[in-house]
Amino acid sequence: MTSAAAVEPLLAVEGLRVEFPTRRGTLVAVHDVSFTIAPGEVLGVVGESGAGKSLTGAAIIGLIDPPGRIASGIVRLAGRRIDNLPYDAMRLVRGREIGAVFQDPLTSLNPLYTIGRQLVETIRTHLPMGETEARRRAVALLEEVGIPAAARRIDHYPHQFSGGMRQRVVIALALAANPKLIVADEPTTALDVSIQAQIIALLKRLCREHGTAVMLVTHDMGVIAETADRVAVMYAGRIVEIGPVHDVIHRPQHPYSVGLMGSIPSIVEERERLTQIDGAMPRLTAIPPGCAFNPRCPHAFDRCRLERPELLPAGATMAACWLRLQ
């Protein structure tokens, strides 16, 4: 499902830059990030902590905490520019057109309200429905996300649900107004592996049935491998490689992607040593000139230390690496 060539992308991000002004100067957390998501497509965004993947997601849904701000770039949803909308207008986009699922299901729900009240409120904010009708829809949503005895459970409070069930409720909330896009930021990271499998299967099924596109932000390559159609690998605030999931996993082009794939232990393959990328990702205050990966890269040469590579076609994917030009 390569949809990079699709005529009308659902989400188009161009040159996104997120900055944090600090006393010691401006930190650029997301640097010139561009990508598209086609309707119904699942785009995985991977990277290690501090790579800027969550901030990219937050920028799209307009939830960057001040003093952080989108310094430049354009975010278009179905052709309409949404990055410069006023707060109230963005509130209506969020929920109605873009749903959000966050890592910790306990903090995404209000502990003082029953989940039914939260669902009904969300539904009525975005859809022209009366109380009874909204409640009926809420029960149907809960049933759809696999909550047993939904008609009874709807009057329970978040603390009465287990972690996995809470994440199902959060997904029901995200789907409440039938959005075209869901931004899911580490939706399974807080969950045990058996529950994780349930939530992934659920997200996949719902998005297929509703035709919802997903931007799936996670550090877990395994989750991406079985969920995403395309994947973007982020490093130090930039996308270093983007392409169809199978190609990025099995034929990665950027040395960082190669190292990342090799460093993941597998349950089927036996290896004496894991591929090791020495060092750590640079801090935002000390991003090296040229390619940000050059101090850790086994193949770095002079050009890498001076000039920053742009995303260029490399095999089946796009990679930001000078090696691919040779």
Partner: protein, 349 residues
């Protein structure tokens, strides 16, 4: 499996926690005491030089096992023997010197490298602390030399000893934790999720380091993790825990290629793997039950597709299964041979 080779032995070890509400609440609400059986009867022998992995989902009691071994908790029942000395539980040795020596031989590495290092201490002091505790007579110069050697051994620089923990990244902090653990020349390391707080590329560095150290120093590890792939990579044998008990214990290759217990099979099917692009895995029904009120009989029976009347009544014991080469599983269905072959065997790459 000669018994002489055993370094650590857990015999029917259990740890209960009293999690009752306060006395007055109990009286007013007419409720009794509440006991959490975090670990409920575990037998495990670890041989010299091997790495035993312990996996399970949150709340299964794997960290409690780690804490029991290093003496952070006292066992409610059972005993722990280390290198021929009973160090905890029933029949604990009265010989304080032997106990101290045994304790010196084992160290622990914790999950969170941010919380387990004192932020106000310099790295050199952190690394030297176990030595100061166990060998207070060590001269200052010898201590300094030892610290430098340890820092170099874990891939840090000698000059790093003068820095504070906040000057290091997560992976480097975990290296400091490892250096501290190695300072008393231990034979046995208990590692409780040592890489769970780290990014994958840094996790690979730490796992490679731990493997190198086990080879060069002949260390024995108990490696606790919720990540099956990590355990598959590092362990020689793996124990799978569920609600305070070990449900399967087998050599790593056997356990992953030919899992016996339905819970192990379920866990393996649930692990996302890079090889699984585009394939969908079998989602498992149900969740871990409340450990305060575990089901009777086999605690896995409410989620198990093969459960019958016996499973609901009788607690299964760990028994040898699947021939000599395999290991042990605690399952009536396996024992009675009514478990079908594994439904979806993973393609071995």
């Amino acid at each position: 499996m000669s018994p002489d080779n055993t370094l650590l032995e857990l015999r029917n070890i259990a740890r209960y926690f009293d999690v009752s509400p306060p006395w007055l609440d109990r009286i007013l609400e007419r409720r009794g005491r509440v006991t959490l059986k975090a670990v409920d009867g575990i037998d495990l022998a670890i041989r010299k030089g091997e790495t035993v992995g312990l996996v399970g989902e949150s709340g299964c009691g794997k960290s409690t096992v780690a804490r029991l071994i290093v003496g952070l908790y006292a066992p409610t029942r059972g005993s722990i023997r280390y290198d021929g000395v009973t160090i905890a539980g029933e029949g604990v040795t009265g010989d304080a010197r032997a106990l101290r020596l045994a304790r010196r031989g084992m160290q622990m590495i914790f999950q969170d490298p941010y919380a387990s290092l004192n932020p106000r201490w310099r790295v050199a002091d952190i690394v030297a602390e176990p030595l100061r505790a166990h060998a207070p007579a060590t001269p200052r110069t010898e201590l300094d030399e030892r610290v430098v050697a340890l820092l170099l051994q874990v891939g840090l620089a000698a000059a790093d000893g003068a820095k504070y923990p906040h000057q290091f990244s997560g992976g480097q902090r975990q290296r400091i934790s490892i250096a501290r653990a190695l300072s008393t020349n231990p034979h046995f390391l208990v590692c409780d999720e040592p890489t769970s707080a780290l990014d994958v590329s840094v996790q690979a560095q730490v796992l490679n380091l731990m493997r190198d150290l086990s080879r060069t120093l002949g260390l024995t590890y108990l490696f606790i993790s919720h990540n099956l792939a990590v355990v598959h990579h590092i362990a020689d044998r793996v124990g799978v825990m569920y609600l305070g008990r070990i449900v399967e214990l087998a050599p790593t290759r056997e356990l992953f290629a030919n899992p016996q217990h339905p819970y192990t099979r379920m866990l393996l099917d649930a692990v996302p793997d890079l090889e699984m692009t585009g394939k969908s895995r079998v989602a498992v029904a149900g969740e871990v039950p409340n450990p305060l009120d575990p089901p009777a009989g086999c605690t896995f029976h409410p989620r198990c597709p093969y459960a019958n009347e016996r499973c609901r009544r009788e607690v299964p014991k760990l028994r040898a299964v699947g021939g000599d080469a395999h290991g042990e599983a605690a399952c009536h269905a396996v024992e009675e041979g009514r478990l079908p072959p594994r439904a979806i065997p993973l393609a071995v790459a």
